[in-house]
Symmetry: C2
Subunit: 423 residues, 2 copies
């Protein structure tokens, strides 16, 4: 994956707050994925503080070894913000006031009904740009983005806050980079659940082996596998033509394991769509996940059409009171058992008057594990129109990880039980 | 904060998966915070792929400009994993089998009941270490950590998975680095809720202005502010002496806003402790947060002592059925109103037979906002022994962010209502 004869990009994240561990560098992860999507090779990411000497060192090195350098952060109005000044110096250009950049600043305050005369001198500083730079609009902030030619290399300056950086990248930088690449990059996402990464990889080993155009990249997510099919082409139409047969082949091989082919499609969204389609109402009953499964479903705007109610029955008493499970049964089989999971699903469906119910009970740790049922043992039960399926899982990791895996497996099992052709 | 005449550390994260945007580099954030805690200056973080030439370039540069270089990743058993080999070459040392490292590998498999003869050749490769290196045990994996002297600089190699890296850092690397620093660094954490970052900062402006030893660093977290008081001292006793009066001063200024002075103390943990202390049982009722609040409480191992049950009543019907709120009342006041929030809390307490109940209802968006109640409007109600408090909030951001803010504010309000001296 990493070797490639195309253009080479490099990322520099500027900000002392990243060096202090104050914030996690999610910008770098986002931009890295975008570079991969654009077919750019990325060999280095650097983080450096708001310090002129060290920022200059990092930028000079990046320009010397890469074609495109993307910097985030340090574009604000304070005297700590140096990215623009350092870049101008490296490019041998002076800072001049740009009318388009001035408009970015003015528009921002106007939209917030702040009068021109109340805008501080510092804020107008943001209208200064290296001479000849391309100014990128910023509908979400006062710092315009910039593209500066630096010894024939393109240096792209973006604001640090993800809420400003991402829309700017999507609207201005992505098309700019796409246009600069010799031809275009067209890609499609295929998202799988209910199948492990190594199993998925082995099922397409022949396709990946010796792949040239299009290529398939594999991304492992908790309980999911994402496949990105990417083609280099002269235009979008040709790109689609190259990608289409590969996506068709993946659909043939993975069948119902594919839950989405949308770029930002989620498993919970796919599930809610299926429930809506079949006009099934849903109830949940959670023990070890404590509400996490229901919260995941409520991620989907419009879930209220299908979700009747959710029960968090962490204690045995709650399992008895809210779901009607006889106390004797819990005692006999233990609250973490296939039998109690099944009764939880049945009870949730009955008490909520729902067509479908999903229930989770398990030992998320760190305490409560036994020889027979170690930490990580989880039972998930699904009731569809009275028919109950129970499955036992064993997850690795800490409390958080076990609960997260339980949620994804519950969504996957529920999907399997509603789409019976999977089994 | 950044300028410092002490030792300089540098981080290198190794892994093509980070360059592809496949994973977010949380290791760098964790290690950066630990370096700050140790009083080490950190000027650069670099990410580089599993590539011999580029990794050598990054390591050589880091050694040339820093005293301590911490590498994570690339210690696994596959031929892609090169970190150990590259470091040995840079240090001019050959790889030799180390009995302690061999034991790390053997112990790992023994704990998992895998027979010695079934361990692959690749796994034994992990027992090879640069000659003279210090071997760090890894109770959570097969790759031992290593400390290698490289031209008088210390190069520390840690495994990439956070579940292996963090415990190894905490147990082996932190005390090692603490011992090496000239004197020691002693720090204490003071965590606040129910107060904004700028308010908190303004309340200690005089303490931060001109601070030398100890120093206070401010970290903003969703709905929380963390203050770290750090002192440089000759020994722990002296460190404690320096930090103590400052912590006492912070306690005086922030009073009950302080929910924890533990390094990894959480708001939910603090809350569960207070509930336990007062022998209060708890119930929850969630609409827009959809289970997220209850899930946060279930983070606390042993929460079952206080948490009776949780209701996720996303639909109006569920609010009526599970919490007994008259349909007419919901229609009259709208489901997102102070009145319905109050009824949710009362209903949850009554139906669960709990002393305390917390309820959340709001508009998380992207749809459902109105002129009068825009997206981000959230009502939180708390019932303590029949006394109900309701508060209205207006949060910024997307659906996820609004729900996250709602959860923290609900925990904070609940704490306020149980500790009445806050108001």
């Amino acid at each position: 994956m990493e070797e490639n004869n195309g253009m080479v990009a490099e990322l520099i994240s500027v900000g002392t707050e990243i060096l202090l561990g104050n914030i996690v560098n999610t910008n770098a992860a986002y931009l890295s994925e975008q570079c991969a999507r654009l077919g750019l090779s990325l060999y280095f990411q650097t983080v450096v503080g708001d310090n002129e000497e060290r920022l200059t060192q990092a930028l000079t090195q990046a320009i010397s070894r890469s074609d495109i350098v993307i910097l985030t952060g340090g574009l604000g109005p304070t005297k700590d913000d140096l990215t623009k000044e350092v870049t101008a110096k490296a490019a041998g250009r002076k800072l001049v006031e740009d009318p388009k950049a001035r408009k970015v600043v003015a528009d921002f305050f106007e939209a917030r009904r702040i009068k021109q005369k109340d805008i501080t001198e510092n804020n107008w500083k943001q209208a200064l740009v290296p001479e000849g730079a391309t100014v990128l609009p910023n509908p979400n902030g006062t710092a315009p983005g910039l593209i500066v030619d630096c010894q024939g290399k393109q240096v792209i300056l973006l604001p640090g806050p993800p809420g400003e950086m991402r829309p700017m990248f999507e609207k201005s930088v992505f098309p700019y980079l796409q246009k600069r690449s010799p031809g275009i990059i067209y890609s499609r996402m295929v998202k799988l659940c209910g199948i492990g990464e190594s199993k998925a990889a082995s099922m397409i080993g022949d396709l990946i082996e010796g792949q040239t155009n299009p290529t398939i990249a594999t991304y492992a997510r908790t309980g999911e596998v994402h496949l990105r099919v990417t083609a280099k082409a002269e235009n979008e139409e040709q790109g689609k033509k190259l990608v289409k047969p590969m996506v068709r082949e993946l659909k043939k091989r993975f069948g119902v394991h594919i839950f989405s082919t949308k770029e930002d499609g989620t498993l919970e969204e796919a599930l809610v769509d299926i429930l809506k389609e079949r006009k099934y109402s849903l109830a949940t009953a959670e023990s070890c996940t404590g509400g996490l499964l229901t919260a995941r479903l409520v991620n989907v705007s419009g879930v209220s059409e299908v979700l009747k109610q959710g029960y968090v029955t962490y204690s045995n008493k709650a399992k008895h009171r809210l779901l009607g499970i006889p106390k004797g049964l819990i005692k006999k089989y233990s609250p973490v058992s296939d039998r109690v999971a099944a009764e939880m699903a049945k009870g949730a469906a009955a008490n909520a008057g729902a067509d479908v119910a999903i229930a989770v009970t398990g030992i998320a740790g760190p305490h409560g594990g036994t020889e027979e049922k170690p930490v990580g043992t989880v039972f998930i039960a699904c009731s569809v129109k009275g028919q109950v399926t129970v499955r036992e899982y064993h997850f690795d990791g800490n409390r958080e990880k076990i609960r997260e895996s339980s949620v994804v497996c519950a969504l996957t099992l529920l999907r399997e039980c509603i789409l019976p052709q999977i089994r």
